[in-house]
């Protein structure tokens, strides 16, 4: 019996071929095999005969929604002054989506980056994606040459070793704490739906930090981000970061310096995370792509927790409701606003 992911791969290829052959979509956004073990690469397939290159595995860690706006643009007919006027609807793009990615697509629709009518969401229930870093950490100093995937275990092979490890133990932190692994937006179902995960405390990692003192939290923050090389991979891989000019590139005013100064790096991370407030789906891509292994996802996770507690909203769950920061209610909590004032001495009050 082929593994679940092998069966899903077959189904993806068959459905993608059908969509392309019938002319339903102009392109399919999926994954192809990567050149190193435990990697995949995003792949845009435009011809039915290329569909055999599509794969599905436990290492599909890049959020495909990040490429969706560009993929949609790339299939539009040219619109120069001499080009013939385009008649009828614009071509569609099909995209693979798990729970979090589908929520990112919902956010892109809410933010008018993607037209709902132009996307065909091929929904795949996620069983959690594996962290390459966690696997490598189990084999310090050894080179991993291949990893074979079973449904519940991974066989890791090197030049002179082969070891079987438990799959769930190396699943990414964000997938382990995920409660909505099944896509919220599905046009075409691939494989079996997966049920909502009962997670007693999805914000455990955040709460561990919250329980520390202010000085300890500051020490954690400074330590966590001290190795950042400002490559901006975390920003570039995130489907929320589509600004034509990011605040880090603004020159007048320059919000953050471009040096590796710890303050500039800290500011970059605070502001980047803050820009994702109410929009982040905890897809974990930012954390996965960081070459330095920095857990910047904890900042967005903290914001997700507050947005849920204060406004009862989880990003991308309801296509028809506005994003949390583009709306308000009259009785939003305002505990942080100064109300209790220190008494002012009379003499000062009377201006003496």
């Amino acid at each position: 019996m082929p593994t679940i992911n092998k069966r899903i791969s077959e189904e993806i290829r068959a459905q993608a071929r059908k969509l392309l052959e019938e002319g339903e979509v102009a392109a399919v956004l999926g994954y192809g095999a990567g050149s190193l073990p435990m990697t995949v690469k995003p792949l845009v397939v435009r011809r039915p005969e290329d569909c055999s290159k599509l794969i599905w595995s436990a290492f599909c860690v890049l959020n495909l929604a990040n490429y969706l706006p560009a993929a949609l643009k790339s299939v539009e007919p040219p619109r120069g002054p001499r080009d013939p006027k385009h008649e009828g609807p614009l071509p569609k793009v099909a995209i693979l989506a798990t729970g979090c990615w589908s929520r990112n697509i919902v956010v892109q629709i809410q933010e008018h980056q993607v037209a709902r009518g132009r996307v065909v969401v091929m929904g795949v229930g996620s069983r959690g994606m594996v962290s390459r870093r966690k696997v490598e950490a189990l084999f310090p100093g050894l080179e991993i040459l291949a990893v074979e995937e079973g449904d519940h275990e991974l066989v890791v092979r090197g030049a002179d070793f082969a070891e079987t490890i438990n799959r769930w133990s190396v699943v990414r932190d964000n997938c382990q704490s995920c409660t909505h692994p099944d896509p919220v937006l599905v046009d075409l179902r691939i494989g079996e739906p997966v049920s909502e995960r009962k997670n007693p405390n999805p914000f455990k990692q955040v709460e561990e930090i919250e329980q520390q003192s202010g000085d300890e939290r500051w020490a954690w923050f400074t330590r966590e981000f001290s190795t950042c090389i400002r490559c901006y991979a975390c920003r570039n891989a995130c489907p929320l970061c589509y600004c034509p000019t990011c605040f880090v590139d603004d020159a007048k005013p320059q919000w953050v310096g471009k040096s590796l100064d710890a303050v500039d790096t800290g500011l970059f991370h605070v502001l980047r995370a803050y820009h994702c407030a109410g929009r982040c789906t905890d897809c974990g891509t930012c954390e996965t792509v960081c070459p330095m292994g920095i857990n910047m996802r904890l900042l967005t996770k903290k914001l997700n927790k507050d947005v849920l507690n204060l406004y009862n909203i989880e990003a991308g769950m309801e296509p028809d409701s506005p994003l949390p920061l583009t709306t308000y209610t009259m009785d939003d909590p305002e505990k942080f606003i100064i109300t209790e004032l220190t008494p002012v001495p009379r003499a000062v009050k009377e201006g003496k």
Binding site: W218, A277, G278, L299, L325, I338, K349
Partner: protein, 148 residues
């Protein structure tokens, strides 16, 4: 920067033109004294104040930051302060999360007729910042940059 007895904090106050700024004006006209530590930046609405502006003030060495707008329901642009309230709630929690001392960045509502309240807010904010001492977290120190 060493803390000396005569250290006085610098506090950047982003005040909404239609209420808190007028409140500051009224405090002056009515001769309510308040500490001279604040440096006022007039903004069209509390909704105009972005996280970038707040963090930039902190980075540039402000010991405290105050953002003050119209009372909920009184915003000149109807709802600017409601949006601002959501944004600031999340920002102040995030700053607390990374270990920025609570009290560095404060928010208040002061209307144009509340000169006395304005003076009290400034007193309160200045006291809190004085108790915290000079800001050092997320403050860019030029000598550190030059040494690096």
């Amino acid at each position: 920067m060493s803390e000396t007895n005569n250290w006085e904090p610098k506090i950047i106050a982003f005040l909404c033109n239609w209420c808190s700024y007028a409140g500051a004006d009224l405090a002056g006209v009515s001769r309510f004294q308040y500490p001279p530590n604040i440096r006022i930046v007039k903004v069209p609405c509390s909704g105009r104040v972005s996280e970038n502006m707040i963090m930039s003030a902190l980075k540039s060495g402000a010991d405290g930051i105050l953002v003050s707008g119209c009372h909920p329901g009184d915003c000149h642009y109807i709802s600017g302060n409601y949006f601002a309230k959501r944004r600031f709630a999340l920002l102040s929690n995030l700053l607390d999360f990374i270990g920025i001392e609570p009290g560095r960045v404060s928010f208040s509502w002061v209307s144009a007729s509340e000169g006395e309240q304005f003076a009290e807010v400034v007193h309160s904010v200045t006291e809190r910042v004085k108790a915290l001492g000079p800001a050092s977290r997320l403050v860019k120190q030029l000598d550190a940059v030059q040494a690096a």
